[in-house]
Subunit: 576 residues, 2 copies
């Protein structure tokens, strides 16, 4: 990867430049955050001409390293008002890497009120007016686009939600079987929509394989690395069998499964939505319990979930989504949740923000708790069509809370809090409060050590050790998010020493450099500090590094836990 | 005024306490801001149990001093997220003063989902469940309440918007003729609605007149003070004749009348909505061109505006409202605007936030520019009834902008920018950016010196001198807002030395103290600093002391002026 491609939507041109010296060694999140921090004015309007949307594959993307195919996207988030990086699998990252594109930077806004698509191939970048697919959902779009090119191209697209610049709009990519995966959080679909780009397609035809500088060393390290993924019980057994949804029963047992808009930590009907039930349902209906979201994925935590007739209903059916509509909205029917998941993928909205928002909407009386059919209808007919109600629902939990005057609104920096209650899993609460991303479990997944006993154990109900835990995990995650690796490699990386060492060996063999573990830690720290400074300059002061008031006032059953970190304690997170 | 009354909605009790030593000498804004800063946690939810709603008359309220009957209300604002003080005329302030109540502090949230009213009389404070008037508009309410008591009581009430906790909801008071005036800005009606209070009624029967400690000195000073109001051309002639709407033609001429959602500084149809046209229309229809909003008002800038049949349509028909729907929404028919004004008073929404929001809504395509009938319909049928569209519209300009992905959204700290374009009247731009209140012209009315040549002249198109101007005006205003005086006394105060000296003489004679001009300045500075610290602690860092990006990017006709203050220049505002 030796070039940076810029697309200027203001004059509909593209340009290619070599990677500047200061960006060498950066990729994925490290690079998107570096570029956003350097080139986007922190106080700019996130949907205005000054924001930039940056895509970057990881350091190892395109190689034969297992699970290295994640694509990062970065921009100023219209949802949080701060910096944002989110990443997903799919095929686009690998194709960008094969084309040698380390970063794709989309700048400016078009002068005319027209929609565009961008096609990136080996010898040409084409920006075309798009009319046929405007207003269409992602499933329709990806099939049309692949048919248009007559082959599997990589795709980054927005659904109707992104076209309407809704704050929950995400960016979709396709997996190797042309199912939808999402760069989900922070409303980056609205940024792409503001630039009037319906989709970007990528064709890597004619490119050579990505070759390490030292193939022998690389191969040896890759083999060790892959083995650690297989050997660890989470990445090798739990995730391939039950997907991420293995967590429903685990979190319910731990009393940390947020239920009925974060009013309890246990859900009576947890069995109906659990990973075990899902697995049995998938098998009974002829679906696929295991499936990879990107080429080279070895963990295979995705799945194909069929409906009662055995027809494809959804894939990438994640714990967060199932928790969000299940426990948090009290919807007991997994098929309703699967249908909601399909529609969210199709219209292009974040499948965490959206169910968190529906939990608040149910408390506001917009629809009853448990109304799965109502959720499906509102997703399709309101959010998908942009009715006034749909505009409200499409703006996320924080916005809905403000519109209906609600006080129990689980957001940090205006982003919905995911599937682990911070009162009874305090490590993840520190991550929610302090991450630069707004409430985001993936930025420092303390569940590993608080609940799964991966990387040791820190008592989830005690404050002791949580800030150090969250800090260390966030530093490590910022580095992992820069490699192109799936975050789930963190499970073996926390328990099996050869995992991290072989990962570093692969990077060193690929680039013929000599990174150490300390270098990787330093990279993670540097990424966090760059992001934090952007947020401060954007007006997200330390008072925004806080959980909503109700977590400190309402005790959560069954442990009657409250959120009891002081502001001063939380602020020590940044002592590094 | 020797007592503080607290209403605790959590247990539906009231209590009375003497004025603590540290609050002696404070009233109006100085007291509401002091109490909010001391007792409300800055990061609390503005609609939660921790916020407090504080009412306070001014230092001279209840006396015979001209124009001294303003009522201040303070709380954490759900609209801006910062501290808020707003004030209005009406009869309530005088009645509170006669009852000896220096501050009324409403705390907590009721346990049950019921609505309440509060009645304050000489010997008793009664908190009652209210059912009859729930869902009713303010006009219906005030007539019912006065009929219920069989006499003119003071009233603070919320309309349906406040009941629904909309962020543009205001608090209404009645003028001496039972017309509606409003504590307009910052969504304090939502705070009152969150506490489930439909109205507070006040009966001052049995109270003695408020007597100065030195009646002779007071009377002499009051006479001088009143004369200065009459002598100044703005307070003595322009405002009584044309009301605040005298400004339409003046601002249009200056190129600072924001038109079509702040895209021009001049409005072709300005004559149709001008103060001169309004005056002629009022006279022709048998209305009242001059009318006072509170007992003892001598400026009489209010008016009674009748419809074509000569029936009462609205009163307190202000320049800001007429500009907002007129130039900014391009509605040429003054009767449509008057009808909109009536409905806004009735449903209880801020008549600045609402038209600024409609300007953005028109640019978003929700209704066409110029559609006065559409505005009236949406006010009545959507905002008034809380449809999803009404919930969107009732949340103010910033919220609508986020929901529809708009970039040209004229707000500071999420509060709509009033009727003077900051690009071509730069002094008011500094006030908008730097005031603790969110965009608010009344907090430092630089129009006086930029446009009206009151208090000297500072060229509105140049940056030179504007920060000093805005700072000095904001300091003076914070002091005036603490006296109970109408802000329009600032016109003579800026030009006629006897105005300010007689004001201070009145305070000294009333309280038998020896304030100097320096003391008054020190009070103003202290109020601003208290408010600023609250905002910083609430997370409104200096990055929030900025105008929206588009003012720096788009030149405003006819002067092609842009907003060109640097952040560093703006931050010098706080150098005192």
């Amino acid at each position: 990867m030796n070039k940076i491609v810029r697309i200027n939507m203001a004059d509909l041109t593209s340009s290619t430049e070599p990677v500047p010296a200061e960006w060498i060694g950066l990729a994925g999140r490290a690079l998107t955050s570096t570029i956003v921090a350097k080139e986007v004015p922190p106080t700019c309007h996130a949907l205005g001409a000054s924001n930039k949307l940056v895509f970057s594959p990881g350091l190892l993307t395109g190689t034969s390293a297992a699970n290295s195919g994640r694509l990062s996207a970065g921009a100023k988030s219209p949802l949080t008002g701060g910096i944002k990086e989110c990443n997903a699998g799919g095929t686009a990252a690998r194709m960008l890497a094969k084309l040698g594109i380390l970063a794709l930077i989309v700048e400016g806004l078009p002068k005319e009120d027209k929609w565009y698509s961008i096609h990136i191939a080996k010898d040409a970048i084409t920006i075309s007016e798009e009319t046929e697919l405007i207003g269409k959902g992602n499933y329709c779009l990806v099939n049309h686009v692949q048919a248009r090119f007559g082959k599997p191209v990589g795709i980054m697209s927005v659904g109707p939600a992104g076209e309407m610049k809704m704050l929950s709009a995400n960016i979709s990519v396709v997996d190797p079987d042309v199912h939808i995966r999402s760069l989900g959080r922070g409303g980056l679909g609205a940024v792409m929509g503001s630039k009037k780009i319906k989709f970007i397609s990528i064709d890597d035809a004619g490119t050579p394989p990505v070759m390490p500088k030292d193939p022998v060393k690389f191969k040896a390290a890759a083999r060790i690395f892959a083995k650690t993924l297989l050997d660890h019980p989470v990445s090798g057994q739990a995730l391939p069998t039950y997907g991420t949804n293995v967590l429903v029963n685990i979190l319910n047992e731990a009393g940390g499964l947020p239920t009925r808009n974060f009013s309890s930590g246990q859900y009576a009907a947890h069995d109906k939505i659990s990973g075990e039930t899902m697995h049995a349902t998938i098998v009974a209906r002829g679906g696929q319990p295991s499936h990879g979201c990107h080429p080279g994925c070895q963990i295979q935590c995705s799945q194909i979930y069929n409906d009662k007739e055995g027809k494809y209903l959804t894939s990438g059916f994640e714990y967060e989504t199932i928790w969000g509509f299940g426990a948090n909205c009290c919807i007991e029917d997994l098929d309703d949740i699967a249908q909601a998941d399909h529609i969210m993928d199709d219209i292009g909205v974040d499948s965490i923000e959206t169910p968190v928002m529906f939990g608040v909407a149910m408390e506001a009386g917009i629809l009853p708790f448990g109304d799965g059919k109502g959720v499906v209808r509102m997703l399709r007919d309101d959010i998908g069509k942009g009715t006034p109600l749909g505009r409200i629902l499409g703006g996320g939990a924080g916005q809905l809370g403000r519109i209906y005057g609600m006080t129990r609104v689980p957001v940090v920096k205006n982003q919905g809090i995911p599937a682990y209650d911070p009162r009874s899993v305090k490590g993840i609460g520190v991550t929610y409060a302090m991450t630069t991303m707004g409430a985001d479990h993936t930025s420092g997944y303390a569940i590993a050590t608080n609940i799964l006993n991966v990387g040791g154990h820190v008592n989830p109900l005690s404050k002791e050790g949580q800030i150090d835990l969250a800090r260390n995990l966030q530093i490590a995650t910022a580095a992992i998010d820069s490699t192109g690796m799936c975050l789930f490699i963190a499970f073996p990386a926390l328990d099996i020493p050869e995992c991290l060492s072989s990962l570093i060996d692969m990077i060193n063999a690929h680039y013929a450099i000599n990174l150490t573990g300390d270098d990787v830690t330093a990279l993670g720290k540097s990424v966090l500090k760059i992001e934090h400074q952007f947020n401060l300059d954007a007006g997200l002061s330390k008072e925004h590094d806080r959980l909503p008031e109700f977590f400190s006032k309402e005790a959560l059953p069954p442990h009657n836990a409250i959120w009891d970190f002081t502001p001063e304690e939380l602020d020590t997170f940044w002592n590094f």
